[in-house]
Amino acid sequence: MDEQYLIQSALKGDMDAFNRLVLAYQDMAFNTAYRIMGESHAAEDATQDAFISMYQKLQTYRGGSFKAWILRIVTNACYDELRRRQRRPVTPLEPEDDDGEVIESPKWMEDSTAGPDEQVDNAELENAIQHCLENLDVDFRTVVVLVDVSGEDYQTVSNIIHKPLGTVKSRLARARQKLQDCLRGFWELLPARYRLNGEEL
């Protein structure tokens, strides 16, 4: 995919070119939104708003990392969606079975490459991490998601959230410490690869 060519075509009004960019980045955008929002429907709304906003603001893209530019829009859409939901709270839609019971480890959490025990462990770990992420303040959560989940560097995150580098470092350190405290006591229940058995630095 020639990204720059698609961007130029989209700028000229080529909707197909724009939609090809959407298809290329929608998983990344949705995943980031999901980790920030903590809920699938909210993440969906934020992602949709982000792509509409992206189409409307495409003229403002001034080169550089297109992924970082999209992440900035996604992050802003998540903030907007969170504010909207704070004004009009909605009941989270947990996956339910036919009897209306909440499914603790829904099907989409399953890792088809892992064995049954490992799948359960992974789902437990994911639930625990997501729970701890949701307990973080949204500013801390956003930074830790962008750095540790999406793998962005400090400078990129600083550009995305419009905050100085020092703020990014500080928020990340505090977010990690809070997550660490939240997950304490949980690690020993997890697969061996997550245990610290006299590991070397």
Binding site: N19, A43, Y55, I129, V149, D153, K169, L201
Partner: protein, 263 residues
Amino acid sequence: MKTGQEQSTKDLLQVSAYIDNALSPKENAEFEAHLAASPDLQQQVLEYKRLKAALRALPQKKSPRNFTLAPGKVKAARKTPRLAPAFSLATAGVAIMLMLTFAGEFILGGRVSLATESMPVPEMKMLEAVDNAEPAEPLIIFWGNEGAVGKGGGSEVVMGLGGGPMMGSEGPFTMPETEIERQVLPEEPPVAIQAQEGDPRETVIYGLQLEAEANDAAKNGVLSRVFQAMRGWPTIRWVQVGLGTLLLATGVTALVLWLGKRR
């Protein structure tokens, strides 16, 4: 082993930056020297690394559907009104400003409130004089007697102003200027007054009013005073009127936009 709260903030910042290779070479060397001597810090580094690995290993969520846009959808999105909050904010701002002008006027007291007080002193005095003046009989001058016909003529006996005896050979008598000034002249501009039908006063006297016309002038004077009072409004009153109008306009617009958004 120290818990997270017990570690110093600086240590936590450095551990976090260290596992991301975000320390400068100098900072890195200093931190590693510190790390070698601190088992607690080593444990902290291991825990942060494990946390980072766990976060990185979280499964990537696939989008539940495609987010591609149809042209109509984008158009609709562009029409989404974002003006309602702006107008609401503007309404609130204008209301506050209006209240401030009233509060300011109240605090400053009579200094700015009364229209007449803002007028220049001579103008005020003139209005007071008009208020207090007794309706005076119009000064009527009968020009000439039976023997005098036409304007500008006069008998040998002076019956009033404007006439002049035909005595002597130096021509008509002229009243000294000082005496003319002593005569009360109406404030209204001189008008030609026609004698009414059947009125024994047959001549037209310039600069004088009949009684009926004097009453009309008095009525017009009231209107003119009201108008003059409005013209004399202080600036603050006009600002209040302007803000009130603006408040009404923005308020109604905001209401209409909000109602439209709800539909």
